[in-house]
């Protein structure tokens, strides 16, 4: 306990804790949308485009995370545009962009002579390098997500339930989908910085899957997802401090344990 108190007396640790807790509580709300709209392949694509962005950033001597962020945002905008085209399926576009991104990243790293380990940060994340700007951005992103759910609470439900019905009732479905893609893109990009590309699911997807499994109402799914995201982030961070583990990995472990416990519970909505 003493080591925990000592650790939290350091400002950078407090910033990091606050950052990951805010991200865990709010980015996890996006998981409800991702699962309900079957967008799991798309967030995987966004993670790979993040890798391409990191490779570009590293090759030109800039920050890998900045490159990843820009590339993920660009890819989410492209995916949003593609889904409006009737003749291109989302999964086809997703596969194309994912493969091209991965290939592009390896080519850039090879041509630029960058050791692959140099972009390891993008896989593992580095919450302890969180700057004040990063923290403010995380809070801003969290507020943006909560505001989106507050303003479009029923509209989101309609789009998740039946896009055709939503369109016929007059909901601007294309606009909503664009906002959702951009939001998921920003969420993935933000999570890259906190827990790394491989563990983005820990705070975005797993809390949402677990919450949807034991909720019957939309609001309870949102609240539970947020709670699971919060617990994963807070407990994962504290575990990492106490046991001297990587924060991303310990957050993912807690998230996976919550998911496993939920899977063992009776399926109440059936």
């Amino acid at each position: 306990m003493g080591s925990l108190i000592d650790a939290f007396s350091i400002p950078i640790i407090r910033h990091a804790f606050f950052g990951i807790v805010v991200a865990g509580s709010t980015l996890s709300l996006l998981g409800i949308i991702i699962v309900s709209l079957n967008l799991t392949a798309i967030r995987f694509t966004l993670m790979h485009t993040g890798l391409l962005g990191a490779a570009i950033g590293t090759a030109i001597g800039s920050q890998p995370t900045a490159g990843a962020f820009i590339m993920v945002l660009a890819a989410s905008a492209i995916m949003a545009a593609i889904t409006k085209k009737k003749n291109v399926s989302t999964s086809s576009a997703s596969g194309l962009i994912m493969t091209a991104s991965l290939a592009g990243a390896f080519i850039i790293l090879a041509v630029a002579g960058v050791p692959a380990m140099q972009i390891f940060d993008i896989f593992a994340g580095n919450i302890l390098m969180l700057t004040r700007i990063d923290l403010l951005f995380t809070i801003f992103l969290g507020l943006l997500i909560v505001t989106f759910f507050a303003i479009a609470y029923r509209e989101i439900q309609l789009v998740l339930l039946d896009k055709e019905l939503a369109l016929n009732l007059g909901v601007p479905v294309d606009g909503m989908m664009t906002i959702i893609f951009i939001m998921v893109g920003i969420g993935v990009a933000g999570a890259l910085r906190l827990v790394g590309a491989l563990l983005v699911d820990a705070i975005i997807l797993l809390p949402g899957i677990a919450a949807l499994r034991i909720s019957r109402r939309f609001l309870s799914a949102l609240l539970l997802s947020s709670l699971f995201g919060f617990l994963s982030a807070a407990c994962g961070f504290i575990l990492a401090i106490l046991l001297d583990l990587p924060v991303g990995a310990s957050t993912a472990i807690v998230s996976a344990i919550i998911m496993a416990v939920v899977l063992l519970l009776p399926d109440t909505h059936r």
Binding site: R154, N168, G170, R216, F218, R270
Partner: protein, 235 residues
């Protein structure tokens, strides 16, 4: 008798593709109409035009005595239209049946920051009662059978207290017994609530149930009468 739907020389489509081609039709209020036709013949496009989602390229369109020639008219007409879509694959969203029926009132009494109220909830309950699905109100929509889900979809459309009910392939994917039950229910509700009903389908649903029967081919409507009606599903 007033016309619920009046389309004169209406052409509509997507981008440069014309789907409805110089289409004329008048559908009287309170009538029960079935439009048949193969996939891609333009049936769903016809419904999109009637509910004001798709703007027309050419011609004149009035629905429930409101012109669809401008966005305000199209928005206004949607408040009085209920829409029953084709049964969806199993939904993944966590939503109780009553919550999902409440969503049917979106755009008529609440939207965006204007929240739903007690009256909306009462309307949603009434709609579930009408379709005989009130006992499902607190169930998770993911746990419903196909037949139950379509009753809930119908309740969602009725929650708007519509003057015009549009149904797009409402019985597809239902088993024969559920199809028959659903059509009985629609007909009974049509008689008691007196809305105008338009069903588009490629399936051989019971033609005797309709006041008028149309066949849609290459973007045009042809009314079937007498012999043509009785032979439609024998071919």
């Amino acid at each position: 008798m007033n016309a619920a739907v009046l389309l004169e020389r209406v052409s509509a489509g997507y981008g440069k593709t014309t789907v409805l081609d110089q289409l004329d039709v008048i559908i009287a209020e309170h009538s029960f109409v079935i439009v048949t036709g193969s996939n891609g013949s333009g049936k769903s496009t016809l419904l999109k035009v009637i509910c004001g989602v798709l703007a027309i390229h050419d011609g004149e369109a009035r629905v429930l005595d409101i012109s669809l020639m401008n966005p305000n008219g199209r928005r206004s007409v949607r408040r009085n239209i209920g829409y029953v879509s084709q049964i969806q694959h199993e939904p993944k969203i966590a939503l109780t049946v009553i919550e999902s029926v409440l969503l049917g009132r979106w755009g008529s009494s609440f939207s965006w920051l204007k929240r739903s109220n007690e009256q909306d909830m009462e309307k949603a309950e009434d709609a579930l009662r009408l379709t005989g699905a009130l006992d499902l109100a607190s169930r998770d929509i993911r746990s419903l059978s196909g037949g139950q889900r379509q009753k809930v979809t119908l309740a969602r459309a009725l929650a708007r207290s519509p003057s015009l009910l549009l149904m797009d392939e409402p019985t597809t994917y239902l088993d024969p017994e559920a199809k028959s039950d659903f059509m009985h229910l629609i007909r009974r509700l049509h008689e008691s609530l007196q809305f105008t009903a338009i069903i588009v389908t490629h399936e051989p649903i019971e033609r005797k149930r309709s006041d008028r029967l149309f066949s849609m081919r290459q973007g045009k409507l042809f009314e079937l009468t007498g012999e043509q009606r009785s032979h439609l599903w024998d071919r």
